[in-house]
């Protein structure tokens, strides 16, 4: 049966971008918290842990 | 072994007596279920769907939410009476404590269901007759599943913040397999289908009950002991 390859590049872009955003944003939150953890010396009260 | 069982019954009896005295949990759960049924009635378009098509879902959603309400209050009885700590200090086998709680909760939820079912038949004009024993059976089967898991979680959340919110958040995913099974079996019972069509679902329900009651007995000590 004859068929045309559908033109759905937009969906591909959307999916790839959404995935990248989720991973990068999550990585960002980790980096922020990691910097806080690396900076703070042995003080009490880990406010940074409460993301 | 029989000792543990007797202990469990004693614990259950105590809980039931306590609740019968104040009755608030029971009454609120019953009223809630009735309201849910009323809302369902107004929320549907009677010309679009026959009552019988929606019936199993309506019934089971009502049962499910009624159960969550009933379970939410179950451990409060204990906590408000500060009785739990006393029991824990005694050398009571944790399995007896869990089974006792389970039986008491089954009684509570059972009462809520016993009231909701006739209301359901009344409001939705569903003729049950021949299907009734089957429906009672599947209700018992699925309810054990809900309540087994609900008992553990309500024991946990009673000590947390936002307890009323935490219980449904934790419990609802676990209620899905018994719920799905119950709706499917109920639908077939109401349609008078042969037993063979429900076998898979009934096996699912039974397996769920066996597995989760056992699991809950095993993990309950981790919930109540330090």
């Amino acid at each position: 049966m004859p068929f045309e390859t559908p033109q759905n590049g937009n969906f591909l872009a959307a999916a790839y971008i959404v995935a990248a955003v989720i991973y990068l944003v999550y990585a960002g939150t980790l980096v922020r918290r990691a910097m806080q953890a690396l900076r703070d010396g042995g003080q009490g009260g880990g406010g940074g842990a409460g993301q | 072994m029989p000792d543990t069982l007797r202990l469990a019954f004693a614990i259950a009896a105590k809980d039931i007596r306590l609740e019968l005295r104040s009755r608030t949990a029971l009454l609120s759960a019953i009223v809630f279920s009735a309201l849910v049924l009323v809302v369902f009635n107004f929320a549907r378009d009677p010309t679009a769907l026959a009552a019988i098509d929606l019936a199993p879902s309506v019934l089971w959603i009502t049962f499910a939410f009624g159960a969550v309400i009933a379970l939410n209050r179950a451990f409060y009885v204990e906590r408000e009476n500060a009785a739990l700590d006393g029991i824990l200090m005694a050398p009571v086998p944790r399995s007896a404590l869990y089974v006792g709680k389970l039986l008491a909760n089954l009684a509570f939820v059972g009462v809520v269901e016993a009231v909701a079912l006739p209301l359901f038949v009344l409001f939705f004009n569903v003729s049950m007759g021949h299907a009734l024993p089957g429906i009672l059976g599947v209700t018992a089967l699925a309810t054990v599943g809900f309540v087994a898991v609900g008992t553990i979680f309500s024991a946990m959340v009673v000590r947390t913040r936002f307890a009323e919110l935490m219980l449904p958040v934790l419990l609802l995913p676990f209620m899905v397999p018994p719920l799905v099974g119950a709706v499917q079996v109920t639908a077939r019972l109401l349609a008078g289908r042969p037993l063979s069509e429900m076998e898979g679902w009934l096996r699912l329900l039974t397996a769920y009950d066996v597995v989760f009651v056992t699991l809950c007995i095993l993990v309950f000590p981790a919930v109540v002991d330090e």
């Binding site: 033109q7 759905n8 969906f11 959404v18 989720i22 953890a37 042995g42 842990a49 | 699912l204 597995v211």
Partner: protein, 233 residues
């Protein structure tokens, strides 16, 4: 600086390195997927979503299994580190399931014409997502460290046991309700470029998972050392 804190910091630093590596590898997979793999004739470009979607699903599953396993081990060994590790894996699991649950429907729209279908994998991942969220919500609601660890472990184990039942429910349900046929390249007939990209994707995202978890675990350990029992980690 206490030895525990320095160990935690080493973990964080190692984790950050691993995570960066994972992100670079993931970027590499993106490039492979976009330029190296052929376009599937029937589905078009959108089929390439598969190379990001499948590893995400895999990552969510791995994350979940780790939570379950660590929970069992915690109840057995009572080592707090197991609890912190489980919590870290749960958080990372949320990210991976979110990716799976967003790329899935986007792809699904092109293949099935509908955004959502109760297909086995999507449904299961949805449940994993809800369980992860419930697990993390519970942790946030329990102030006492020991209690939090115990309760989380119980939920982790129960969640693990729930999964086969969800599977069974979906299977029984689907044999009644035929699902739209999922057009996806099945393993035997997958051209080598596709297979290679898929495997690279699995590798890259597993690396990313490990990096994420390591950083998160390190942060949790550091907070654990510093704070009292009130740290919700």
């Amino acid at each position: 600086m206490t030895p525990d804190l320095s160990a935690a910091r080493r973990t964080i630093r190692g984790g950050l390195a691993l995570m960066t590596l994972g992100l670079l590898a993931a970027a590499g997979v993106y490039i492979l997927a976009l330029y190296y793999t052929p376009i599937e004739a029937r589905q078009g470009l959108a089929q390439k979503i598969f190379y990001v979607h499948a590893p995400a699903a895999w990552g969510a599953l791995v994350a979940f299994s780790v939570v379950g396993l660590a929970s069992i081990l915690y109840l057995w060994l009572h080592d707090e580190r197991l609890d912190l590790f489980a919590a870290s894996s749960a958080e990372v699991g949320v990210a991976f399931s979110m990716v799976m649950l967003t790329t899935g429907p986007i792809w699904g729209k092109t293949v099935w014409g509908t955004w959502w279908t109760w297909d086995a994998r999507l449904t299961l991942t949805l449940f994993l997502f809800f369980l992860f969220v419930a697990y993390l919500a519970l942790r946030a609601a329990v102030p006492d460290r020991g209690e939090r660890a115990r309760f989380s472990a119980v939920v982790g184990i129960m969640g693990l046991v729930l999964v086969p039942f969800i599977h069974l429910s979906v299977y029984l349900f689907r044999t009644l309700h035929p699902q739209p046929v999922l057009l996806k390249p099945s393993a035997p007939s997958m051209p080598p470029e596709m297979l290679r990209t898929l495997l690279s994707g699995m590798g890259a995202f597993t690396l990313l998972y490990l990096g994420f978890v390591m950083v998160r675990y390190g942060i949790a350990c550091a907070a654990n050392v510093r704070g009292g029992s009130s740290n919700a980690v």
